[in-house]
Symmetry: D3
C-alpha cells in the first residue's frame, strides 16, 4: 500500500500492527533513451511488489537525488548532498515521531549513497530506530543474472530498460563502453558519455528483465522480513 491510497486514520490503524516503512529515494536525471525518472520508476514498483507480499507501507518517493555530474543533460534536477541529507532526516524524524521504527530505504540512484550517513547519525539519536539501505543494482543477483546472459549492467543500458522506464524506441545493438569519465564536471561528463548510456546493450529480452525484477523483489521482501514487525 502506498501513502497516496490512504488517509491518516488508515495509517494509524497500520501502526497499531506494524512499525515498518519503505522510503523510496530516487533521482531525476538523464538515463540515455530512458525516462529521466528511471531511478524512481524502478524502485517504486519494487517497493509496491514487496508491499503487496508483506503488507509493509510505502511512503511517497523522493524523486530527486544527488546528480551534479549529469546537470549538463537537460531534465536532470539535482539536490546538493547537503539538501538530500536534510530531506532524508526530515522524512525519518517525521515517521519516527508517529511510531515507525524500522525503515527500508529503497534507493534507486548511485549518487544518493552518501546520504546513508544521516541514517546512521539518526540511529544514535532516535532509540529503537532500525534501518536498512538497499541499492537494487548493487545486489549480487543483478550482475549474476547479467553474466548468465552475457550482459553487463551499468547506467542507462539494458539493465534499466524495463517496460516501465522506456519512453521511446531504443537503439538496437550495443554501445562501446566509453570507460570512466576523466572529469566529473557536468559538461565534460556529457561530452564523454554522449547519449548518456555507460555502454553495452541498449535492450535485453523481457524474460531477463523479469528475472532481475523478481530477484530484487525477493531481496526486498527478505529485508523486510528481517526487519521483523
Amino acid at each position: 500500500m502506498n501513502y497516496s491510497e490512504l488517509n491518516w486514520m488508515q495509517i494509524e490503524a497500520y501502526l497499531a500492527e506494524d512499525d515498518r516503512l519503505i522510503l523510496v529515494i530516487g533521482a531525476t536525471e538523464q538515463h540515455g533513451y530512458l525516462s529521466v525518472l528511471t531511478d524512481v520508476l524502478i524502485p517504486q514498483p519494487l517497493a509496491e511488489a514487496a508491499s503487496e507480499h508483506t503488507g509493509v507501507l510505502v511512503a511517497p518517493p523522493l524523486p530527486f537525488g544527488s546528480s551534479p555530474y549529469f546537470l549538463a543533460y537537460p531534465g536532470t534536477i539535482s539536490l546538493r548532498m547537503n539538501t538530500l541529507l536534510a530531506v532524508l532526516e526530515d522524512m525519518l524524524r517525521s515517521a519516527y515521531g508517529q511510531g515507525f521504527r524500522k525503515f527500508l530505504v529503497l534507493n534507486g540512484h548511485g549518487g544518493n549513497r552518501g546520504a546513508k550517513a544521516v541514517v546512521d547519525e539518526l540511529a544514535n539519536q532516535l532509540p529503537g530506530l532500525e534501518a536498512y539501505w538497499y541499492d537494487w543494482w548493487l545486489s549480487p543477483v543483478v550482475p549474476e543474472i547479467a553474466a548468465k546472459h552475457n550482459l553487463t549492467n551499468t547506467h542507462a543500458n539494458w539493465s534499466e530498460a524495463f517496460s516501465f522506464t522506456r519512453v521511446t524506441d531504443l537503439p538496437e545493438g550495443e554501445k562501446l563502453f566509453p570507460g570512466p569519465a576523466a572529469s566529473f564536471e557536468a559538461k565534460k561528463v556529457r561530452q564523454h558519455f554522449g547519449d548518456g548510456s555507460y555502454g553495452g546493450h541498449y535492450q535485453a529480452p523481457d524474460t531477463v528483465m523479469d528475472e532481475i525484477f523478481n530477484a530484487c523483489v525477493q531481496e526486498v521482501i527478505s529485508l523486510l522480513e528481517r526487519l521483523g514487525k
Copy 2:
C-alpha cells in the same frame, strides 16, 4: 507532458522551443478522510491539464512540504522550512542551468508559502529568471464558486474532496467549524481538529468540484501564457 514520460533528448528538444517549466510542490499530511497525498493529488492534475493545453512541461512533483503542526497525525511527513527552501533552490538552479527561465510554482499546500522567499532571492541572482507562484485554493474563483453553492472552502473539507483524493467513503453532512487552534503544537492541533477537517461539508456534488477544477486550470493556463514562451 511530465518528466516521467520523457528522456533528456526530448527535454532538450523542448528547450529549443520553450523555456517554461511547472514545478508542483505539495505535502504529505493529514487531510481528514482524504488521501494524505491530497496536496499533491490536486495540483498535479491541474498542472497536467494546463500542460495539455499549453504544452508546458511539468517537473516531478515534490511530495513533501512544511507541515509541523500536523505531525501528530500519522502519515504526515514534514520538511523543516529550512530544508524546503534548499530543495526549491536546487530544483530552480538545476533547471535554470539547462535553459529554463520561466517557472510556475504550482503549490498545493498552505504551509509552503514561506518558501516563496527563496524564489525571490534567486530572482536577484539568476538573470532572466521569472517565476509565478500559484496557490490554487487562494485564488478568488474558489471562494466565489463555493459561495455560489453556499459552501465554505477550508482544509480537508469538501473543497479538497475530488474523485482523485478520496480513498474511503466520506461522512455525510457537515462538521461544525472548530475555529482556529489555540496552539500550533502538533498534539494540541490534533486534539482541536479531531478527524482533521477544518469544518463544513465533507462532500460536494461532482459538478461543483469540476467547476472549481476547471476554473483553476484556466488560471494556470493564463499564468503560463502571461509568462510567455
Copy 3:
C-alpha cells in the same frame, strides 16, 4: 515595559508573575516616502501600547526581515529566509530557557510570514510553548476601517503613514495602483513601483490613522489576554 528599561533582576521579578513576552519583528526596507524603518516603527508602538495596558514585556525589536524583492531600493537590508528562521529560533529558545512560555510575535512585515514555520516547529520541541502570530495589516479591522473611509490599504500608502513613520512631507493626492509586479527580481520591482508605494492615497487624516492604531492595539491586547498569564 521594554527590555531596554529593565535589568535582568527586574525581568526575573516579572517572570515570577507572568510568562508572556511580545517579540516584535520588522523590516528595514523601502516604504516610499516613509521611513525605511516603517515596519518596525508601527508594530513597536502597538506593542508598547498593549504592554502599558496588560503589563506584558516587550523584547527588543528585530529590525530586519525578508525583503529580497526591495533590495534595489537603497536602504533595504534583507535577511535570507534561512537567516530569519535562525534568528527567530534563537530568540524563542533564549526566552523559553528562562521561563517564558507564551509568545506574541507582533510582525510588521509581510515578507516575514514564512518564518512562522519555525515557531510551529519549536512548538513540537519545547513543551508548553504557546505562540500567536499577529500581522496587524492583515487584521480584518484594517480593511474595514479603510473601506469606511473609501480607502484601500496597501504597502507604503496612507495606511502606513502614521505621524511616527513620516520623515518628509508626503505627496498630496493619489497614485494609480500599478498592480502586481510581473517579476520579483528587485530591479524589475523597482521599475514597476517607482516611488515604492503600491498605490492609492499617500495620506489619510489623523483620525483615520488613530482609529486603525487603536483597533490594532485592542486586538493585540485581546491576544495577550487569550494567552493568559
Copy 4:
C-alpha cells in the same frame, strides 16, 4: 543620521555623495544593575555622535549578539554564532548591493568578535568592500582613562554605567573581583558572578563617563575619516 529618520530616496541621495555606513551590533544580555540593552545603548549614541560630526549614516542596530554564557540570567537573548555570522553577512551584502563600500562595524559586545571572520570572508568576495571593526571597550583610551582615576573597566561595572544605561539606582561602593569563571556553562557563570557585574566600582562620576564617551567618539570619527569617502 539614522535609517529610521530617512526614506529610501534620501538614502539614495546620500549614496551619490558617500559610500560609508556604520553598522551597530550589540547584545541583549545581563549587565548587572544596568539595562539588558547596555551593549546597544552604548555603541548606538557613539555612532550617532560620530555621525553628527562626519555625516556618515547609521544603519539600524542589531540588538542581539552571541551571549551563551549569560543565558541563565533572565532577559538574555543570544544568537548562535552561526546565526550571527549569517545576519552580519546579510546586512553587508544588502548594503553593498546598493553601493555602500566602506563599513564601520561598531560593536558593543565582546562575544560578537568571532563574527569578524565573516567580514573578512566577504572582503574576498565583494570587490572594493572595506571594513573596520571597532570594539569601544578594547580601545587603549578606555583603560588609560580608567587608570587615571584608579578604576578598572570590566563587564557591567562603572565603565558601562552611563546615564543612558542606568535603569535603577546603582549600589554604592565596590564589588570584589570574583576572577574568571571556572566554567562557561550559563548556570555556573551565574553562580560565579551573582549580580552579573565582573567587579570593581559600580559607578563613576559623570565627568569620567563623559571623558570615556568623548574619547571613543573621537576614535570612531577618525576611523570613519580613515575609511575616506
Copy 5:
C-alpha cells in the same frame, strides 16, 4: 613534499611548475587493536611515497571523517556528513583560489565516500578543476593480492595492520567473520563487532603488507600522472 616542510614562498614556486595537489582525508575511529588513526596512517605514507616519485605536493591530512556507527568505541571522533562536506569544500576552494587545479583526494575511510558529491558539485562551479578520488582498499589490486595469499581484506583486520598502524601486539590467528551488523546504531555495532575487527586474520606477513602498499603507491602515481601537470 608535505605542506609542513614548506613555507608559502616554496609553495608559490611549486605552483609555477605544477598545479596538482594531494588531499589526504582519513578518520579517527576504532580499528580493533590498531591505532585509532589507522585511516590517516595508511593514506598519508601512500601520499608521501607517491609524492617522492612524482614531486606532487601533499596537503595536511584531515584526521576526521564520518564514522557515526563507531561512536560507541572510545577514541572515535566523527564529523557529521554535513560538516565533512563543508570542510572538503573549503579545502578545495582555498587551494583552487591559489592556482591548484588538479586534485587527488586520497581517502583512507569508507564512511567518507559520500563526500565525493561535494567535489562533483564544485567541479561545476570552479572552471578547470579536476579531481580524482582514490579509496586504496577498494582498488582491485588489494583483494587480488589478498586472494593470492588466501586472505580476505576488511575493516581492522590484517589488511590494515601495517608496521605503522600497530600500537600493541596483535592477536594470533583468525576471528570468525561476524557478518554485517543488523543495525547501525553505534551501541549495537559495538555489541556486534566486539573488538572492532570485521573478522579474518589479525596479521599477515610483512611481505604481503609491502606488496599491497607498493601496489597502491603505483596506482596513486599513475592517477597523478593521468592528472598531468
Copy 6:
C-alpha cells in the same frame, strides 16, 4: 599520549581513570619564512610536553582554521568560521559521548578564537562539560619574556621561529613593523605584509625560544591540573 599511538581499548582504559582531553586546533596559513603548518607545529608539542607531565591524552590536531585574510598567500587553507564551528562541535560531541568531560582547547591560531562560542553553546547542552581555551601567544608570559629580551612578539616573526617551525634559513635582522593592514581583503593583506611577517626580528636565540616554550608548557600543565581529573 597521542591518539595515534593508541587503540580504542587503551583509550577506554584511560577513560576509566581520567576524563580530560586536549584538543589542538591550528591553521594552515602563511607564516613568512616559517612552515605553513606553524600554528599546528607549536601547539602540538606544547600539548605533548604537557601530556608527558600530566598523562592527559591529546586528540589528533585539527590542521585547518579560519584564515580568510591570508588566502592570497599560496599554501593557506582556510575554513569558513561556520565550518570551523561545526568541526569543533563534532569533536566535542564525539568525545563527550564516550565519557570525556573536561577539555583543554589548545589553540595555535588567532583567527580561531571566534570558535570559542560553540564551546560555550555546548556547555549549556552537555551536562558536566567543562572546557578551557588556551591561546599560547596571548598568555602574559610571552610578551613578558619578549620584553625582557627587548623583543616584540607578533605573527610570523622570531616568536614563532622555533627549531621545529623552521623550514629554510631565516633572514638576519629586523623588519620594520608595517602596522595593521588597511583592509582585510586577502590581496591587500598580501600587498601590505609582503613576506608575511608582521615585523620585528626574524630570529631569536634558542634560549629565548626555550624559555617561551617552557613557560607555556607550565601554563598548559596548570590548566590541566585546574580541570582536575
